[in-house]
Amino acid sequence: MMKHFIYSIFFVLLSLQSMAQSKMTGTVTDAKDNSPLPGVTVMVKGAQAGTQTDINGKYSINIPDANAVLVFTFLGYTTQEVSTTGKTTVDVKLAAQAKAIEEVVVIGYGTAKRSDLTGSVATLKSEQLNDKPVPNITQALEGKVAGVEVNVNSSAPGAPAKVRIRGVGSLNSNTDPIYVVDGVVGVDPNTLNPNDIASIEVLKDASATAIYGVRGANGVIMVTTKRGRSGPAQISYEFNGNVSELSRHIKTLDAKQFVQVYNQAFENGQKFATDGAVQTPAKALNHTNFPLLFDANDNPLYNTNWEKETYKPAFSQSHQLNIQGGTDKSLYSVSLGYLNQKGLAPTSAFQRYSIKTTMDNDVKDWLKVGGSISLIASRQRMVSDGNGGLNVPRDVIEEVPILPVKYPDGSWANNYDIDGLEGAPNPINVANNRFGINNTTQMVGNVYATIKFSDELDFKSDFGFDLNTLKNNFYSSLSLQHLSADQGGIANINEYSNWYWQSENYLTWNKKVNDKQKFTALLGFTLSKQSSENVFVETQNFISDALTYNHLSSGSVRSGADSGFGANQLNSVYGRISYNIDEKYLFTATGRFDGASRFGEGNKFSFFPSVGAAWRVSQEDFLKDNNTISNLKIRASIGVTGNQEIGNYRTQTSYQTGQTVLNNAAAISLLPGYIGNPDLKWERTTQADAGLELGLLKDRINLELDYYNRTTNDLLLQTPIPWSAGYVTPNVYKNVGQVKNSGIELNLTTVNIKNKNFNWTTTFLATFNKNKVTKLANGNADIFPGPNFLGENYVVRVGEPIGAFYGMTRVGTYSDSPEDVAEAASHGLKPGDRKYIYNADGSPYYSVIGHAYPDWTGTFSSSMRYKNWDFSFDIRFVEGVNTAANFKHSSEDRQTISNSLATVLDGWTPTHQDTYISQVRNYKYAQDSHFDSWWVEDGSFIRGQNFILGYSFPADNLKKMSINRLRIYASVQNLFLITKYTGYDPEVDTFNQGFGYASSFSQGLDFFSVPRPRVWNLGVQVGF
C-alpha cells in the first residue's frame, strides 16, 4: 500500500520536473582551494525554480530564457549573481565569507550562536542521527554524545532505549531526560519517526537546563523537526532494507547430552534423597513411553536446536519521503514515513506510518504564524511478555532438544509432552499463539504566533499539544497448556489515552547596548496539563482461537474490567538574560519558578536558578591571529534543577477498593491502599560544570572537555515499607537522601586529511562518571529497592553507587574432603552442592557483588570520503560494568524439568570437584538457588556498532533523470561484540520492558533476553 503511494508521488514529481525549456549547467567550487562545493543553492533570479549542486559541485538548471541571472547561495559563503547571457556553462567560484555564519543551536525558548553559549550543549544533525536504521530517537542517540549513556536493552522490534545524561541522578523517580519536540515539552520520543528530525540538541549542564526548572534535572533533549526552507522545493526519498541475523549463541544440551544428564540426575538423586526413596523419572525416556521421540534402540529421533529454529533471519524495510520548500514569506514541509521492522523472534514486528507537515508564514511585517502537526500510527507485536514467564526467549533455552518443533502429524511438540518436565510450550508455538500488540496513535504539534514589536523585541505565544493513545491487545490461545489452556484462552484490551497541552508565552528582547555590549533577555510564563485515562477489559474461555481479542463477549468468563484516570498540572514563570561583552565575555542567568500539583500543600512551589559565564580567550588580541590556536573558550556554570517525575497523587493516602467473596457473590471491600506522604517535595539537583573548547590549526583539531559535578538532594525514592503496615502497596515515595555524580566528558574531533578528493575525520567521545550515594534517611540505613529475584538484587547504600548488585558470594562447590563434608553438613548440604560464604553465625553473607553502571564509556568513530565513495564506522566501548546472568538460575540449577545450559556438563562429579557448578540431580533435590556472584559477570564490551560504505553517483549521469543526488550505501550494525559475558548481550534489562518506561534499577539484570541481531543494510537516498 504505502510503497505504491510513494511511487505514485514520485511519478507526479518527475513529470513536473520535465516541463523545462532550456538548461544551464556548471560547477561550483571553493574560491580558495578549488574543491567542489556540494549543496549550493542555484536559483534563477526572480523565479521560484532552483536546484542544488551535487557532491561534485555540479548543477543543472532550467532557465526561462538565454538572459537569465543565476543566484548562487551557500551558507558561510558570499552570494554571487551571474548572468547566463551568451554562456553555455556557468562555473562559479564562491568565496568564504570573512566571518562565516556561525552554527546556531536550539536552546530552551530560543536559539543562540554556539559561540555565545555558556552552557554545555551538544548538537546532532539529521545525518548523524540517521546513519543507521533504528526505529526511534533513543536508539539513534546511542554512542553519539559524550555524557549521554544509551542502553538499548531490548532487541524486540520498536523497543525504546534507556537514556541517561551524566549518570543516574535519581533513584526511582524518573531518570529519563525530558524531550522537547519543537517546543512541546515531555513528548515520548520513542513514537516519533527519527527521519523527521532535523537536529537534536542535548542540554547537559544547569546553565542550559535550568530554564526547564522542574523537569530539567535529568538533562533536556531538544528535538527540532525538519521544516520548510526558502528556495526551490527539495524532494528527498530514502529507502532502507535490511536483514537481521542471530549474531551470538548460547550453548544448551543437545539431544544426546540431555538424555545423559537427565538419567544421571535421577541416579545422583539417591545421594540427596533423605528418605531413601528410589529416584526415578515420572516416565523413563525410552521408546516404550515415548514412541514419537525415540527409536527402537531408545536413541532420540530428534535433535532440535531451538535457537536455530526460533531466531531466523528477518527482513525489514523503511521508506521516507520529505518535501521542503517555500518563498521568503512562507515556508512549508511535508513528510511521509513507513517502517516495517521484523524481529528475530517469529512474528515479532513493528510497523509505523507517519505523516508530518509544517508551515511558517510571515503574514504581516510584525506577525509571524505557523505550526506543525505530526501524525503517527504504529503497531508493535510483542512475543516476550512477562519476565520470568514461559515466554519465547526463555523457552528457546529451556525447551528440550529431543522434541521436534512439530510432530509428523503437524501438531506442536511441547515440553509438557514429557511427564515431569516443567510444562513450557515450545517457543515457536508460543510466538504464534500468544502475543500482545501495542497500537499507538499519536498526534503531536503546535501552533504559534510571533509578534514583532520592534527589531529588538518580540513576543511569542505557542500552544503545543501531544495527544496519544496506546492500546495493547493481547491474546493467548486456548491450546497453550500452562499459559492459557485452563482459562480456555485469554483476551484482553488495555488502552491508555494521554492528553497533554501547554501554553507557552514569552517575550524576547535582543538589545544592543553599544558597540561592544549586547544582551538577550527572555521572560515567559507557561501552563501545562497532562492527563491520562485507561480502560482494561478481559474475557476468557472461548470456543475457538479465531476471534482472538476482536469480540470479547465471545468469551464466557468476564475476568476483568477496570478504568483509571490521572492528571497533573504545572504552572511556571521563567526568565533568562544572556549578556555578551565584545564577543569575549559571556554571561547567562536563568531562573524558573515552578508550581507542580504533584507535591504536598506548602511544597508545591520552587525556584530553580542558574548562572553561567564563558570567556572566549581566542577573541583576545593576544590570540586573535594565532596560527595554532583557532578557538579557545572556557566555560563555567552552576545551577539548580528539579525532578517531579513520581507519578500522580503520591502525597495522598488511598483507600483501595478490592473484591472478596461473600454469599457466593463478589462483594466490594475497602482496604488501606497506599500510604500518602504529604511532606513530599521536589528532588533538587545542583550541578556545576566547567568546560573547555579548543580548536587548533584552523579547527582541524577540536577538543571539547567538560567536568561536571551533580549533587541531587531530597532524592525521591519509592521506598519499601514494612509489610506489617498492612497497605496493599508496600512502598511509599519519600525524599530519602543524596547522590552525587561527577565526571569528565571528552569529545575530540580531528580532520586528518582534507583535500579535493579525500576527506578523513575521526572522533573520539568518552565519558567517565562516578556515582555515589552520600546520604540516606533513617541514619543512612540501607534501602533494598528491588527487584527481588531469589533474594534482593540491589542495595542502595551510602558510599556505594546506585545500581550496586547485592547478593551471596559463591566460592565453588563442596568437595568430599572431611573439612568440606563437615562444613557442608552444617548448612544441611552435601559434597557437590554449591559453596557460599557465610557469616560466623552460619547465616548467609550478603555484600555488594557488582555494579550495573560502567566506569567509562566511549565511542571511536571515523568517516572518510574519497571521490564519490564514503566510508564510516563507530565502535563503542563500555568498561567497568557488571551484568547479572539471572537466567542461569533456571538453566543451570534445575535439571530434569527443562533443558539446561551446556555448562552443566562441567558440573561437580566425584572425579571433577573443582567447579562452580553443582552436581546434577533431579529437581526434587535441587539446592536452593540464590542471587550470587557467579551470575554477576563482567559486562564490559566493545561493540562494532555501525559500519557504512556509500557511493554517490556523479551528477552528470543523473541530469537526464532530473536527479540532484543519488547515493547508495551498504552498512552493518552490531558487526562484532567483544565481551566476556556469557549471555546474548551484556547491554540488557529484562525486568523493565514497559513501553517507554525505565527506572534506575534492574539495569543489567538478564532473565532471558531476545538476542541482539547483526543487521545488514542496503539503502538508497535520492534528492530532486
Binding site: 514589536f453 523585541l457 501552563l527 495522598q652 500518602g676
Partner: protein, 533 residues
C-alpha cells in the same frame, strides 16, 4: 485570591526586579504596537490569574481519608476488607510452581511429601529452611494485610452515621472485624512468636518501623479482648453467607484459650476452662451437625452448611476459585481438565498406616484416593501412592477446571475435639460429654467408641483423633506446637516435639518452634532483629 497565588505574584515581582528591566520594556513598547501588546498582556495576565485559582489542585481518582464514606454500604465494604485476606490462608507462593501457603503447614509436620521440587519442599523435609525460604514471606504479608484492613474498618465504622445503619448492625460489623483481626494475629503469634503489635492503621510514612511484642502480650492486648468484644454482639450462631457468626467467634475463642494454655504461652490452666466453656456453648447452642458422609464436605452445595463453622469463601462464578483442588491432584496423572496437575502435597505412607484398621477415612475416595479415570479415555489410572481427596471437586476436575469449594478454617469435629481436650485438662479427666464428642467423631469413621480412659490416655486419644480427622487442614502443625508432642507414626509413641525425628530423618529442634521472619521484612525493619533462629 488563594495563598498560592500571592506568593506566585510575589515571585513574579522578584523575577522582574531581578531582571530590572520591566520599566524599560514598557516605555519601549509604548512607541511601537501599544494596542496589540496591551491586549496580549491582558490576555496573558488573565490566563495567569485563572490558572492560579485551582490549577494546581488534585482530584485523585480513588477514595481517600477525605472521601465521603458514610453510608451503610461503605461500612459493609470496610468490614468486607477484613475478610479479603482470608484467602491468604491458601495463597499462591510467588516464585514457585505448585507452592501455596497451605503447603508450608503440611510440609513442616513431616507427614507430607511433594512431587514437585519447585514447591521448595526439600528445604522443609530436611528442615534446612531460612528467612528467605518460600512461604514465610507470603504468610507474613497476607496476615498483616488482613490486620491492616481490619484496623481500617475498626477505626472507620464507628464514625459512620447513616440512617440505614442501626447501632446493632454497627456493633455486629465491628464484632466481625474484631474477630478477623484476632484470627490474623492468632496465626501470626503461633507462627512467628513476638511480632509487631499494630492495632491502628499507621498513617505516618516516617514512623512505620515497629519492634516486636511478646506473643503473650498480643494475646492479652489484642486477640482475647477482640474476641471477648465480639462475643458480646448479637451475631447469629450460624451464617450461611460465610460471614463471622457467633459460632465462629466461639470456635476461635476455644482454640485461642486452648493454645494460650498450651506450651507456647503457658498462660495458665484457667484458660482450659475458658476454652471448654466456649466449645461447649457452641456444641449445645450452635446448631451445627456432622455431615453423614465425608464426601459431603466436597460438595459445593454444602458450603457454609452442616458442620462448617467458618470458611474462606470461593465462588467459581466470580471467578475466585479454591486452588487446593488442582494442587492436590496427582502429578501428571492425566485425570483432570487442569493443564497443571501438581501433586504439591501428599501423605506419607507412614501417616496413612497410623490409622486404625477399619477407619473409614482411609477407605478409597474418603480422605484419600489412589486411582481415578483418565480424562482422555476413561481408563483407570492408578497412582504410585495415595493422594488427598479432601479438596477434590468432581465438577472442577472433570468439567470446569474451576473449583467452587470453600476452604474450611473451623468445622464441628475440630470444636468437638477441642472440647474433649480442654475439659479433660480443666477437670483432670474426661467427662461424659467429652467422651461422647470423641466417640461421635470416631463413630462416623466406623470406629469403636473409646471406653473409660484416664486423663493422659484420653488426651492422647483426642490428639490422635485430631491428626486423623483434621489432617491436611493446616491444624496438625499448630497441634504439635501447642502440645509439644508429636505422634511417631513408626513407633506409635508420642515423642517430645524437640528431638522428634521425622520419617525423612530430620529432627525437630528449638528452631522449629517459630518460623523466621522473612528476610525482606527484616531488611526494611531492623527493629525486628534478632530474628527467630
Amino acid at each position: 485570591m488563594e495563598p498560592g497565588c500571592t506568593s506566585w505574584i510575589l515571585k513574579l515581582n522578584v523575577m522582574k526586579t531581578m531582571k530590572g528591566n520591566a520599566e524599560k520594556y514598557l516605555n519601549h513598547i509604548k512607541c511601537i504596537k501599544m494596542k496589540n501588546f496591551k491586549n496580549i498582556l491582558l490576555v496573558s495576565c488573565l490566563l495567569l490569574v485563572c490558572s492560579c485559582k485551582k490549577f494546581l489542585n488534585e482530584n485523585p481518582p480513588f477514595y481517600t481519608p477525605e472521601s465521603n464514606l458514610s453510608s451503610e454500604k461503605a461500612a459493609q465494604a470496610l468490614a468486607n476488607g477484613g475478610y479479603q485476606n482470608l484467602t491468604g490462608l491458601i495463597a499462591g507462593q510467588n516464585g514457585s510452581y505448585g507452592g501455596n501457603t497451605w503447603n508450608l503447614m503440611e510440609f513442616m509436620t513431616g507427614k507430607a511429601s511433594s512431587d514437585l521440587g519447585q514447591t521448595g519442599y526439600v528445604n522443609f523435609q530436611t528442615l534446612n529452611y531460612g528467612p528467605t525460604s518460600f512461604y514465610f514471606d507470603t504468610w507474613w504479608t497476607q496476615l498483616y494485610l488482613g490486620v491492616g484492613a481490619a484496623n481500617l474498618a475498626i477505626q472507620q465504622i464507628p464514625k459512620i452515621n447513616s440512617p440505614d445503619l442501626s447501632d446493632e448492625e454497627k456493633t455486629n460489623l465491628l464484632a466481625e472485624v474484631h474477630t478477623l483481626r484476632a484470627l490474623y494475629y492468632f496465626y501470626l503469634v503461633r507462627m512467628y512468636g513476638a511480632v509487631p503489635e499494630i492495632t491502628e492503621l499507621q498513617t505516618d510514612p516516617d514512623n512505620l518501623l515497629v519492634g516486636r511484642t511478646d506473643a503473650k502480650k498480643i494475646y492479652d492486648d489484642v486477640i482475647i479482648p477482640d474476641l471477648l468484644l465480639a462475643e458480646k454482639s448479637t451475631l447469629p450462631w450460624k451464617d450461611a453467607t460465610g460471614k463471622v457468626s457467633m459460632g465462629a467467634v466461639k470456635a476461635i475463642l476455644a482454640d485461642v484459650y486452648l493454645t494460650y494454655a498450651g506450651a507456647a504461652i503457658n498462660g495458665g490452666s484457667a484458660a482450659y476452662a475458658e476454652s471448654a466453656k466456649r466449645s461447649l456453648e457452641l456444641l449445645t447452642q450452635g446448631g451445627y451437625t456432622l455431615f453423614p458422609e465425608y464426601t459431603d464436605m466436597i460438595n459445593p452445595a454444602n458450603k457454609n452448611q452442616g458442620e462448617f463453622i467458618f470458611q474462606v469463601q470461593f465462588a467459581a462464578s466470580i471467578p475466585a476459585t479454591n486452588p487446593l483442588t488442582q494442587l492436590t491432584i496427582p502429578n501428571y496423572a492425566g485425570i483432570s481438565k487442569y493443564a497443571d496437575e501438581y501433586g504439591s502435597v501428599f501423605p506419607t505412607q507412614q501417616f496413612l498406616a497410623s490409622y486404625e484398621a477399619g477407619d473409614k477415612r482411609v477407605n478409597e475416595k474418603q480422605f484419600f484416593y489412589s486411582s481415578y479415570p483418565s480424562i482422555s479415555d476413561g481408563t483407570t489410572k492408578t497412582f504410585p501412592h495415595p493422594y488427598i481427596y479432601k479438596w477434590f471437586d468432581v465438577n472442577a476436575v472433570t468439567v470446569t477446571a474451576k473449583s467452587d469449594l470453600n476452604y474450611t478454617i473451623y468445622r464441628l469435629p475440630d470444636v468437638m475435639l477441642m472440647y474433649a481436650e480442654a475439659s479433660n485438662e480443666a477437670e483432670g479427666g474426661p467427662n461424659q460429654t467429652a467422651i461422647d464428642n470423641l466417640n461421635a467423631v470416631r463413630s462416623r469413621a466406623q470406629l469403636d467408641p473409646v471406653g473409660n480412659l484416664g486423663k493422659d490416655a484420653f488426651e492422647q486419644a483426642v490428639w490422635l483423633e485430631r491428626y486423623h480427622e483434621l489432617c491436611f487442614e493446616n491444624k496438625m502443625w499448630f497441634d504439635m506446637l501447642r502440645t509439644r508432642k508429636v505422634h511417631n507414626d513408626v513407633t506409635g509413641n508420642w515423642d517430645n516435639f524437640i528431638g522428634h525425628t521425622t520419617v525423612f530423618g530430620a529432627t525437630f529442634t528449638q528452631k522449629q518452634l517459630l518460623f523466621p521472619i522473612p528476610q525482606h521484612e527484616v531488611d526494611i525493619n531492623p527493629k525486628l532483629l534478632p530474628n527467630n533462629p
